[in-house]
Amino acid sequence: MTLPIDPSIASSASEWAIPSLDGATSEGAGAGAAQGAGSGFGSMLSDQLGKLEATQNEAADAAKALATGQATDPEAVVMAVERARLSMQLASTLRNKAVEAINDVFHTQV
C-alpha cells in the first residue's frame, strides 16, 4: 500500500520520531529516515488498517450469522458491529485530520 504520510521526511525534527513504535530507541530521526517506510509510523498505520479491516469482517460475519439464525448470542453480534463502527469512526477522524493537515501545507502562501 502507499503511505500518505512518512515522518521520515522531517529530517531534523527529532520529536517526529516515535521510538517506542519503530524500536529505534537510541537512533535519531535521521536513522529513521534511513530505515525507510518499512518501520515506524508507516508500518503502524498499515497494522492499524489491517486491524480495522479485521474488525469490519468480524462484524459482517456476526451480522450474517444473526441474519441466517446461526448466532446464539445477540449481544456478541451487537458488540462486534459497534466495535467496528467505533473503530471506523476513529480511523476516519484521524484520516480527516491528516488530510486537513496536508491541505494546510498545500495552501501555504509562498
Partner: protein
C-alpha cells in the same frame, strides 16, 4: 487496557443477565412440574452463580474484566408438600411434592435481571459516547 475494555465488560454483563433471565424463565415454566426428566422427583429451582472474570495474573492487570458464569446450581430448599389426593403423583397420604419454586421470588428475580441488563446497556452507551466525545476533540 484496550479501547473497548468497558465494552467487553458490559457485553459479558449483558450475556450473564440474559442467562439469569433464561434460568428464571425456566423456573417459572416449571413451577408446577411434579416430574423431572430423569425421574428424580419434582423440578428443582435453578439459580445462576456469577463470578468476576479473569483469574490469571495477566488478567488482573486489566481494569475491566467483566463477569462470567461460574455455574447453574440447584436450589437445595425442600420441595413444597401440597395436599391434593386427586393428583396422579400424590403419595399414600394424598400429598403431592411440588417444586420449590416461588413465583413471587422468580418475578422479582426477573425484574432484577431486566434492570441489571438495562444498567449494562447504559454503561455500554456511556462508554460509547465517551469515545465519541474524545473523537470530537479532533474535529
Amino acid at each position: 487496557m484496550g479501547l473497548f475494555d468497558a465494552f467487553d465488560a458490559s457485553g459479558s454483563g449483558l450475556s450473564a443477565e440474559r442467562l439469569r433471565m433464561d434460568v428464571t424463565a425456566e423456573n417459572l415454566a416449571n413451577a408446577q412440574s411434579t416430574r423431572s426428566a430423569n425421574g428424580a422427583g419434582p423440578y428443582k429451582r435453578k439459580e445462576v452463580v456469577l463470578e468476576s472474570a479473569g483469574s490469571s495474573f495477566a488478567d488482573s492487570l486489566s481494569a475491566a474484566r467483566g463477569v462470567r458464569v461460574a455455574g447453574i446450581v440447584e436450589d437445595p430448599t425442600p420441595p413444597r408438600r401440597v395436599y391434593d389426593p386427586g393428583h396422579p403423583d400424590a403419595d399414600a397420604q394424598g400429598y403431592v411434592t411440588m417444586p420449590n419454586v416461588n413465583t413471587v421470588t422468580e418475578m422479582t428475580d426477573l425484574i432484577g435481571a431486566s434492570r441489571a441488563y438495562e444498567a449494562n446497556v447504559t454503561a455500554m452507551q456511556t462508554a460509547k459516547s465517551m469515545f465519541a466525545r474524545t473523537l470530537d476533540i479532533l474535529k
